[in-house]
């Protein structure tokens, strides 16, 4: 996007500066996405992405806690709701709200944190009107999945084999919370930024969030990294430091493997994920080859190849399905290689999630059968 075209001349820098500050402040509060920012299809995909985490969270809690699940989750969700109202002053003279998701992840493990934060987000959306109902999947993905997963993983890697009162644990909690919120902001920026690439009206006006990735990601990540993530890190560290003095039993039980579990299968499949990522990155190599993959010709290519009459069935069926990433390319990205990589990553993500979902469902079925 060329800014110089529209901002040429003597723009009032002072006003622009003030407006920029206002935008930065607003961006730090933008984690609860309202309805209208994301297309319904994006919202549906976000629900699909968050579903496996809900299933695994519920399964883990049922296994560990049985009938205690309902009151424990209810109280923790209520706690998350109330802590989201806390305003934390950060050095430099401003204040920010926190999500409490990092704290919940450190103390209870990512699975329980996902369920507690999800419950709090549902209550906020349905009964308080904070955050959209259709956007609930996206909000849960950013705040109830990304934040706990990153925070818990980083905290665990720091806390490994250290005593409860070690300062490494505090450092791990701070870095984990900061990274969790910053990553959540990145994903929110990604969700906003994909909208103008994928959904436009015929005259070219974006139908949902209008800013491209080059604007939306920095606009979400930079203010969060400086303000909201710092506030989250401060709160997490201070609460853990207080707990060590006032109620160390909570932290000690958090250290037990039953409570803070390893993410299942991550290590086992690490090589597979790395290979897939490498394949995605080298996917534009296909662009070097001329022509189209054998047997994947479109109707125009068939005509160019000299086929005089396009079979009626092909002509009729070719218009039925318009792929969201036609030709593995995002024209608005202006770079076909980047479009290819992004398409590959989206594809891997969707296929991976569907496959995981199936194995999850199958394993639920088999455990139920073996239980009878």
């Amino acid at each position: 996007m060329r800014l110089s075209n529209h901002f040429s001349g003597e723009s009032p820098r002072y006003l622009a500066g003030c407006y920029g500050l206002l935008l930065i402040w607003l961006a730090t509060t933008a984690m609860h996405i309202p309805d209208g920012y994301l297309s319904p299809s994006t919202s549906a995909i976000m629900f699909l992405l968050v579903l496996p985490f809900w299933l695994s969270g519920v399964r883990k809690l049922r296994k560990d806690l049985n009938a205690r699940v309902a009151p424990l989750i209810a109280l923790l969700a209520a706690f998350s709701f109330v802590i989201m109202m806390f305003n934390i002053p950060i050095p430099g003279g401003t204040t920010a709200h926190v999500t409490g998701a990092a704290l919940a992840a450190v103390i209870l493990g990512p699975e329980a944190a996902t369920i507690a934060i999800t419950t709090a987000l549902i209550i906020q959306a349905i009964f308080f009107g904070d955050g959209g109902i259709l956007a609930l999947g996206a909000n849960c993905f950013n705040m109830a999945v990304i934040v706990p997963q990153f925070s818990a993983a980083i905290y665990r890697s720091f806390a490994k084999n250290t005593p409860i009162d070690s300062s490494r644990r505090l450092a791990g909690a701070a870095i984990g919370a900061w990274t969790g919120i910053t990553m959540a902001a990145f994903f929110a920026g990604l969700e906003f930024g994909l909208q103008p690439l994928l959904f436009k009206s015929p005259d070219g006006s974006p139908l949902y969030a209008p800013y491209p990735l080059s604007v939306s990601i920095p606009a979400m990540v930079i203010p969060h990294a400086l303000i909201a993530s710092a506030a989250e890190a401060l709160l997490t560290v201070l609460v853990i430091a207080y707990l060590r003095r006032s109620n160390p039993a909570i932290l000690e039980s958090a250290g037990k493997p039953g409570r803070v579990a390893e993410p299942s299968g991550t290590g086992k499949f690490r090589k597979l994920w790395i290979t897939m990522l490498a394949l995605a990155v080298i996917s534009p190599l296909g662009l070097l080859a001329p022509g189209t993959a054998w047997g994947e010709w479109g109707t125009e290519e068939l005509a160019r190849m000299g086929l005089k009459a396009i079979p009626e069935g092909i002509a009729r069926l070719s218009g039925i399905w318009g792929a969201p990433l036609q030709g593995y390319n995002l024209p608005a990205l202006g770079n076909s290689n980047l479009g290819y990589i992004l398409s590959a990553l989206v594809g891997i993500l969707v296929v991976g999630v569907v496959a995981w979902l199936f194995t999850r469902l199958l394993s639920i079925g088999s455990t139920e059968q073996s239980g009878h």
Partner: protein, 271 residues
């Protein structure tokens, strides 16, 4: 920069949340069109209209749905000015400020030249209108559901969405304990504030917040054990039983059918 008092800020936020839900409870008890409808109908048409608003590629269709929502609010004795202002003052303040740069930054044919070399493009104007209308209509729809339906009825209505009972029980308990914890937090901050002379430094305020957060967390975890024991003492074995008191009447079928057809028409017209 003069910073506001964090303690006062949090106390104000907590009171506002309590006030908002009391307000919703008051309105939902009034005799009105939507208050008299089956909660399941309200949940279904709210979702259907939300989907139509968000699918629509036509501004006119979204505007028409907004007018219908306003009409429904008026016939449900929701305070009109409050309803419109709550949507148009607070929420699009956020969306409105975020959307202004899109007026100039969205590439497209120039429409209105402004001083300092700024040009509003026609695509920028369209995209801003889409965002504002979509967000405010979606928020109005959700708000209308919140204002005209008691929360426990909404929860029971979620049965038709095939939401498992255990989940509905948990949501209901969460809602109840949010109020208890909000009151506890409010009391903690008020008692701390009543012992403060002058201003607290930023570091002191952080410690107050962290101490309150820690106490609240410990209390929540202790309370969850107590609640579990209380449930057990009353014979809870993990199976949830809820009353299903819903009964579809003629009025529910008529209004449900009408609003669902409206949302179907909106999806077709808005393509």
């Amino acid at each position: 920069m003069k910073r506001h008092n964090v303690l006062e800020h949090v106390i104000r936020d907590i009171s506002r949340a309590l006030e908002r839900s009391l307000f919703a409870e008051k309105i939902s008890a009034r005799p009105g069109l939507l208050q008299g409808l089956d909660a399941r109908v309200k949940v279904v048409y709210t979702l259907a209209l939300l989907i139509s608003v968000n699918l629509s590629h036509s501004l006119l269709v979204i505007a028409a749905i907004y007018l219908v929502v306003l009409g429904l609010a008026c016939s449900s004795r929701v305070p009109k000015i409050d309803f419109i202002l709550r949507v148009w003052l607070f929420l699009p303040f956020f969306t409105g400020v975020l959307i202004v740069p899109a007026l100039f930054l969205t590439p497209g044919p120039p429409l209105i030249p402004l001083p300092y070399g700024l040009i509003i493009t026609s695509t920028g104007l369209m995209t801003s209108l889409f965002m504002l209308l979509r967000v405010s209509t979606s928020v109005s729809l959700t708000l209308l559901l919140i204002l005209t339906t008691p929360w426990n009825t909404v929860l029971r209505a979620l049965h038709i969405m095939r939401v498992p009972d255990i989940f509905i029980l948990t949501l209901g308990m969460t809602y109840r304990y949010i109020y208890l914890l909000l009151h506890i937090a409010n009391d903690m901050f008020l008692s701390r504030k009543s012992r403060v002379v002058g201003r607290l430094s930023s570091a002191e305020e952080r410690h107050v917040m962290a101490a309150a957060g820690t106490t609240l967390l410990s209390k929540s975890l202790n309370m969850s054990s107590e609640v579990y024991l209380a449930m057990k003492s009353r014979g809870f074995h993990g199976r949830v039983v809820t009353l299903r008191i819903f009964e579809m009447r003629k009025r529910d079928w008529v209004w449900g059918g009408l609003l669902l057809s409206l949302s179907a028409a909106a999806i077709i017209l808005g393509r």
